[in-house]
């Protein structure tokens, strides 16, 4: 197990360097001179331009620039936003809890509904429930979620008036960020109605962001269960006279979880891509909206730093999933 962890950790290093290199090269590849973009309408004098170029180090050889950037990254220095002049690192971590809260809700929503749905569909394969569920899952899997969001807004917010259209909480509530999680902060504030308001704001974005992972998890659970159910050891378990619920829920599901965990881990990448669309549509003040806004504002350090941080988060999640995979699969654990 220790060797497995070490081997897995070792592959992290070159990938991390590569990811840094990719995000670093963005600022050099973007069309237009970043300094002129930063100056905006006002324009620049020759001297001021040279001064800034020196200040940002653009006059030095590329590999020196990369080395500076890389060592900066290792110390948590990702540069400053052109627009707000705040460090990218700080901006990221003020906005990150919003995305994390939304993503966690979405993935929990997807797992809580998707896992049992997939198991039941596999056990009753070919029956009505299986067909209905798998058709629904395929629709969900094919859903353009930006359109799905608009549709939900039309029906749930517009026609029914059940949920708000945007933001994380009603404007009349105001309290300090303690954890950055609106659900927890609203409870801590003790203000009446704040928590329900936060929950109501979360519902639609959670559904929208969770739809594709839900469909993927349901489909993957079903096919993994089907594969496992035809294994010899399932026959052995049935030959012991065990209840079907125990055969399916313990012997089969435990083995089927191995590929499903991988899929759940992989859907974190999907979640990040989905967050870009979901947050933009629901004006959710998180990383996804921040990235889109920065791309449009040509706020290069933010794009660069955000790309890097998001990639690192995805990598860390994948690493965790791999280690979890080792933990749940005894064949790897004891090697």
């Amino acid at each position: 197990m220790l060797r497995y962890v070490l081997a897995r950790l070792l592959t992290f290093v070159p990938t991390f360097i590569g990811v840094t290199l990719v995000s670093f090269s963005f600022i050099r590849l973007l069309p237009g001179d970043p300094i002129i973009v930063m100056a905006g309408e006002r324009g620049l004098t020759e001297e001021r331009y040279a001064e800034l170029q020196q200040q940002f180090g653009f006059d030095r050889p590329l590999w020196v620039q990369f080395w500076d950037y890389f060592t900066g990254v290792l110390q948590g220095d990702l540069g400053q936003s052109f627009v707000t002049k705040r460090p990218v690192w700080d901006e990221f971590f003020t906005l990150f809890p919003a995305t994390l809260e939304l993503s966690l809700c979405a993935i929990i929503f997807a797992i809580v509904l998707g896992l049992p749905a997939g198991v039941i569909a596999a056990v009753y394969r070919g029956k009505f429930f299986d067909r209905a569920l798998m058709s629904t899952a395929l629709v969900g899997y094919s859903m353009p979620i930006f359109w799905w969001a608009l549709l939900l807004i039309i029906v749930v917010s517009g026609n029914l008036g059940w949920t708000p259209v945007s933001g994380r909480i009603d404007l009349l509530y105001f309290f300090d960020d303690v954890t950055g999680f609106m659900l927890i902060d609203s409870l801590l504030s003790g203000q009446e109605g704040a928590f329900t308001s936060a929950v109501r704001h979360l519902i639609l974005p959670t559904i929208v962001l969770g739809t594709i992972p839900l469909a993927v998890i349901a489909r993957q659970t079903r096919s993994a269960m089907l594969e496992v159910l035809s294994e010899d050891y399932i026959r052995t378990a049935r030959a012991k006279g065990l209840r079907p619920s125990r055969v399916n829920g313990l012997h089969a599901l435990r083995n089927a979880m191995i590929p499903v965990i991988t899929v759940i881990g992989l859907s974190v990448g999907t979640l990040m891509a989905g967050a870009i669309l979901t947050e933009t549509i629901f004006s959710w003040p998180g990383i996804g909206k921040w990235m889109v806004d920065s791309i449009f504002r040509r706020d290069y350090p933010v794009v660069q730093g955000g790309l890097l941080l998001i990639a690192v988060i995805v990598m860390i999640v994948n690493l965790t999933v791999d280690l979890l995979y080792g933990l749940i699969n005894p064949k790897i654990r004891k090697r």
Partner: protein, 326 residues
């Protein structure tokens, strides 16, 4: 009354290209304490008929039978719950592939104790003690330590011993062993067979041994059924089967045993067992039978009387004179 009584059992599988009959009107009756062997090539439906009795066939299978009774109760009339009380307790089964027949995610100890918990009224401690006792019975060294091992950490032979321990955990009255030695090394094969016959003699349970190895049959069984392409073609006591085989297929199988070879080259049976798409019209063995004539190829053969080993053949071999007179 026999312990397991099967009359006219057929099993059909739905496949993407039509139905496939894996077992075709098979009869079998096994008495308490009996040791019955079912012999046949791969694909002859010997495992499938036993899986049907255990209720372990996949959902694509359709079972039809006149009788499918264990201890006088027809298994098809029982509720699933009542049936689960028999399966794994009074009637248990071990399989061909010990490596894949144990759940890789759980320790072997967990899996054997699970069987004990399902059927017996033992507390945690007693289950542990019984598991150790069972491991000792099947000859697993250092049982206490082995209980916490995962299946992939044990050898094939060890895993098969675990399977046997699990199957006899609740003192069954019938144990079905489906090619228990096929996947194992030759040296281990004899050990496992000795273990099975020893346990059978010791506990007095009935044992059905499914195999394709005539040599194994000669050493262990009392009665033998020979199956071919889903049909039972002959059934006899082991001694008379070896001395006077009535069906040409049985004769050919016996002739292919190295011990009985008379020529320098070992005789073989040409061709393969017919599959879904090349089932002959008359006798299923006719394409490979050296005695077959036009009648064999067009008319399905009758089942001969018990004196001629219930052979499913138009022209049975070695027919005793008095039987011929009937």
């Amino acid at each position: 009354m026999s312990l397991l009584d099967i009359r006219n059992l057929s099993v059909d599988f739905a496949t993407s290209t039509g139905t496939f009959r894996a077992v075709d009107s098979v009869d079998l009756s096994v008495d308490a304490g009996d040791l019955h062997a079912i012999v046949g090539e791969s694909g002859s439906g010997k495992s499938v008929s036993m899986l049907a009795a255990m209720g372990l066939l996949p959902w694509t299978a359709t079972i039809t039978a006149d009788t499918l009774a264990f201890d006088g109760r027809d298994l098809r009339d029982l509720s699933p719950r009542a049936r689960r009380r028999i399966i794994g307790k009074d009637m248990s089964m071990i399989f061909q592939e010990p490596m894949s027949s144990l759940n890789p995610c759980f320790t072997v100890g967990f899996q054997i104790k699970e069987a004990l918990r399902q059927h017996l009224d033992l507390d945690r401690k007693q289950r542990h003690a019984r598991a150790i006792e069972l491991f000792e019975m099947v000859g697993i060294p250092a049982p206490e330590k082995r209980l916490s091992a995962f299946p992939h950490q044990l050898s094939g032979g060890m895993n098969q011993r675990v399977m046997i321990a699990m199957a006899i955990a609740c003192k069954p009255r019938l144990l079905i062993a489906d090619e228990p030695t096929t996947a194992l090394d030759v040296t281990i094969q004899a050990q496992i067979l000795d273990l099975l016959t020893g346990l059978q003699a010791e506990t007095g349970m009935a044992l059905i041994l499914i195999t394709h190895d005539m040599g194994v049959v000669a050493e262990t069984a009392r009665r033998v059924s020979v199956q071919y392409a889903g049909q039972k073609v002959e059934e006899q006591e082991v001694a008379s089967l070896f001395s006077d085989p009535h069906h040409p297929y049985t004769a050919a199988l016996l002739a292919a045993l190295p011990e009985r070879a008379t020529e320098r080259r070992l005789p073989t049976i040409p061709g393969v067992v017919p599959g879904q798409h090349d089932r002959p019209e008359g006798c299923l063995f006719s394409p490979r039978c050296k005695f077959a004539d036009e009648r064999c190829r067009t008319v399905p053969p009758p089942v001969q009387p018990p004196a001629i080993g219930l052979a499913r053949c138009h022209y049975p071999l070695n027919v005793p004179e008095e039987a011929d007179a009937i």
